[in-house]
């Protein structure tokens, strides 16, 4: 088993994957060092917590996007689905006055339901994921506005609602570490989905579908059902993101959401997940989301205008993917 040639043969691809994550991680460290030298305020605990808090919504959405992208698909509806689930939570909690747990269930359930529909469009009706989720994106944006009457829904009747994101469970036990619950939820979710991807059948089929769907189908696996399950899981995670953002704003803002899907996909790509499917990891995605969060925060602290922050984000995405291409080309030759 430990024959030298054999271990060399397996070490190669595994090392390549690790290298990819290392590259992203190293970029994150470089950014952290750069900004802490550029601004003394950057490394303060309050600022670090602000970065993490700001990253939590994009991070959760990016985890959802990662699942779908690993299958070789794409989900453009994560942003407006987040808004839609926030509105649903608003309807259940504020309009109907039902208790908080029901609101949480409704948001996650609505997300999973929409994901189920997207997945069915892709798997059963064979609509390309780009088109199916583009349609869902617009449908959900419209529905959010219709249901809410184009006005924000506030959660003033549910005083505990903002605590979902801004409260600090960790802080109540360790007062020295006031980590907001939103951040805690992001990391717990990341660990959980990371575990799903590496240890469960669902995760195995995520990679297998992205790697060679036809081969999986010919192996007698019900590929359609698994694909729908993956989209539904991603949708449910968007429901969590919807709760996080609504809780942070103490309101469901129906006009929000468009553009979030691109930030999420950007984080996935920077984290080294291949848009072609078959490879990727939640850890990479979290690093990617953190890179984006650190970048935006750092540039703001350095008083760079917001429009230029957007330009820099675009450059970072291109640079990240180009670095990955270079590495691959080197590995291939």
């Amino acid at each position: 088993m430990t024959d030298a040639t054999q271990s060399a043969a397996i070490a190669k691809p595994k090392a390549a994957g690790a290298q990819q994550k290392f590259l992203a991680f190293a970029s994150l460290i470089v950014l952290l060092i750069f900004f802490s030298l550029a601004s003394p305020n950057f490394l303060q605990t309050s600022n670090i917590l602000a970065i993490l808090q700001a990253t939590s919504v994009n991070g959760v959405l990016a985890i959802a996007a990662t699942l779908v992208i690993i299958t070789g698909g794409i989900d453009l509806s994560v942003g407006t689905l987040m808004t839609f689930t926030a509105v649903i939570a608003g309807v259940v909690l504020t309009y109907m006055g039902l208790p908080l747990p029901l609101g949480i269930l409704a948001a996650i359930g609505a997300g999973a339901g929409c994901g189920f529909i997207s997945g069915s469009l892709v798997a059963r009706m064979k609509i390309p994921p780009f088109i199916a989720t583009l349609g869902m994106m617009l449908i959900l944006k419209g529905l959010s506005l219709v249901i809410s009457g184009t006005k924000p829904i506030y959660f003033n009747d549910t005083p505990s609602f903002p605590l979902i994101s801004t409260g600090s469970l960790i802080g109540s036990v360790f007062p020295a570490m006031p980590v907001p619950n939103g951040v805690l939820i992001l990391f717990v979710l990341a660990l959980f989905i990371g575990w799903i991807l590496s240890k469960t059948v669902l995760g195995r089929y995520c990679y297998a579908l992205g790697s060679n769907e036809e081969a999986v189908r010919l192996s007698g696996v019900n590929t359609d059902a698994w694909k729908i399950a993956i989209y539904a899981l991603a949708g449910g995670i968007c429901g969590i993101a919807g709760l996080l953002i609504a809780s942070r704003l103490n309101s469901a803002q129906p006009a929000l959401g468009l553009g979030y899907e691109l930030d999420a996909i950007a984080a996935v790509v920077i984290g080294g997940t291949s848009l072609a499917g078959g490879r990727g990891s939640v850890l990479g995605t979290i690093i990617g989301a953190l890179i984006m969060g650190v970048l935006l925060n750092g540039l703001r602290i350095m008083s760079v205008a917001q429009e230029w922050q957007t330009v820099v984000t675009g450059l970072i995405i291109i640079a990240a993917v180009y670095a990955d291409m270079l590495r691959r080309r080197k590995a291939a030759s």
Partner: protein, 506 residues
């Protein structure tokens, strides 16, 4: 010997095609039964019926004596039928063990995987096959031959007693083929019935016990491999006898040198390669897979940067840094992978023929003279005998041989006179092969200089005026073409590795 499979009067229609016409096939335990026929004869369709991928429109199917309906891949697996597809159906991002047990992963009630059990089961399979394999290796990193072992292990993991192999050696070299054959023989010894689909006559003769031939979706006949001459089988396949042709070697002593390559070097695959090629000459490049033949072609063509070496065309030194430079110098390269590198499959024949010469057919505003292009395309359809309804036919709908002719037309129109063919007949059936051979010979007779890279020794011998043999990036020798050169002589040079390593003369 018991009958494992009996297929009788199998009918299958696709829109516009009667793919199987009351075809029949049977398989006994402990035999290797070759299924032969030209492309489109219905071999793969027949085996897809057997493996549950297609449902037949009519006919009966018996497995182990009992009549069955196979409703899908899973039902076929349950009956002990395993298929190894021509295009390997593996997931490159997953490990060996994960591939083998896809869909049947050891798991608990919550869907949590038991990876240790998975790897142990895969190890046990390979131990049974007597093949060294690390179950945790990622499939992407394996050679095609090793990937095939994974496919076989996967088929065997279903306790398959019936194993279908579709062109298993298409991408294997000699040594890998031998290893595959020894595994097949072991399986046969254990009572497994193997259906073996291949175009390679010599392999069929080596490995099979019986041969069934199909033509145009119908059953032609079954013969014992032993004692049946190859010519008989070929004539069963094509419906006529092919005459044994030997290459006629023209006198090229007075011919001008068209291409001269000196000291070409790139990495480990191309080491100090020097040769020259005359007008009207067909130079065959033989060697095992991975000997560096394709790499030599790509370095000449400028597709890969070279480290050193000089190239002269018609006596004049040329600087080739990119395929564009090469084409301008009159060198073209016809890749073995026509579909990826040679053709725009979704475009019509006319557009493909004009692809490399559009500037000649357009005015200063960039408007393309489509009518003129159409006339040229018609000319090539006639002169190269391309079988197509019109020059507006999408090339993806043409057969492999006709697609190859479209690529040739494209380069002829570009005025290329040094043509490098990489595996020109891969995926092309026997009848069309002979036609491609004739075409290459007539191109040579018109003064084109031609290099043919081929892994099939009979093809090299059939075509080449002169044969260059490579081993591990070096040219190990030249042999004259024609009947006096044997496959053994070529193989000796192609495996001259030891001599090279010791620094002795090959």
């Amino acid at each position: 010997m018991t009958d494992l499979v009996t297929m009788t009067a199998i009918d299958k229609h696709f829109p516009g095609v009667h793919a199987l016409k009351r075809a029949q096939f049977d398989l006994r335990s402990g035999e290797v039964h070759a299924l032969m026929g030209e492309n489109g004869a219905g071999k793969s369709t027949m085996m897809k019926v057997l493996s549950g991928i297609y449902a037949p429109d009519g006919g009966t199917l018996r497995v182990n004596g009992a009549e069955v309906k196979i409703t899908g891949p899973r039902a076929a697996q349950a009956l002990g039928i395993g298929i190894i597809h021509q295009e390997l159906a593996l997931m490159p991002d997953l490990t060996v063990a994960q591939n083998i047990f896809i869909g049947r992963e050891p798991r608990n009630a919550w869907g949590v995987l038991n990876e240790a059990k998975l790897n142990a089961a895969a190890s046990a399979l390979f131990a049974e096959m007597r093949v060294e394999m690390d179950p945790t290796a990622e499939v992407r990193g394996l050679t095609i031959a090793r990937q095939q072992m994974v496919e076989i292990a996967k088929a065997l993991s279903f306790q398959s007693r019936i194993l279908i192999m579709d062109e298993p050696t298409a991408a294997l070299n000699e040594a890998e083929t031998n290893e595959l054959f020894s595994i097949i023989r072991r399986l046969r010894g254990d009572g497994v019935g193997v259906v073996y689909i291949s175009h390679k006559m010599d392999e069929i003769m080596r490995i099979s016990d019986r041969v069934t031939v199909m033509r145009d979706g119908a059953y032609v006949g079954t013969v014992q491999s032993e004692g049946t001459p190859i010519e008989t089988i070929i004539s069963m396949m094509v419906g006529r006898a092919l005459d044994q042709v030997h290459v006629e070697i023209p006198d090229l002593s007075a011919a001008e040198v068209a291409l001269d390559v000196r000291g070409l070097t790139r990495g480990r695959m191309v080491r100090d390669v020097s040769f020259s090629l005359k007008k009207g000459e067909i130079l065959g490049f033989a060697g095992l897979m991975g000997a560096g033949r394709t790499e030599v072609a790509r370095a000449i063509f400028g597709a890969d940067p070279r480290e050193s070496g000089e190239i002269a065309v018609h006596g004049k030194p040329v600087q080739i840094a990119s395929p564009r430079d090469a084409v301008n110098a009159g060198i073209c390269y016809l890749s073995e992978d026509r579909k990826h590198f040679g053709l725009a499959l979704g475009l019509d024949l006319r557009a493909n023929v004009g692809m490399a010469s559009l500037s000649r057919f357009s005015d200063s505003l960039g408007r393309v003279d489509d009518a003129a292009l159409g006339r040229v395309a018609q000319d090539y359809i006639a002169s190269l005998a391309i079988r197509t309804p019109s020059d507006r036919q999408e090339v993806r709908l043409l057969s492999g041989g006709n697609q190859q002719k479209v690529v040739i037309a494209k380069w002829l129109l570009r005025n290329c006179d040094v043509l490098i063919f990489d595996e020109p007949t891969r995926g092309i059936d026997v009848g069309a092969k002979a036609e491609i051979y004739r075409l290459l010979q007539s191109l040579a007779a018109q003064g084109k200089a031609i290099i043919v890279i081929s892994s099939e020794l009979p093809e090299v011998l059939r075509l080449s005026h002169r044969i260059a043999v490579m081993c591990e990036g070096r040219l190990t020798g030249f042999l004259p073409g024609g009947p006096q050169t044997t496959q053994e002589q070529i193989m000796r040079l192609a495996t001259a590795r030891d001599a090279l390593n010791k620094g002795e003369a090959a």
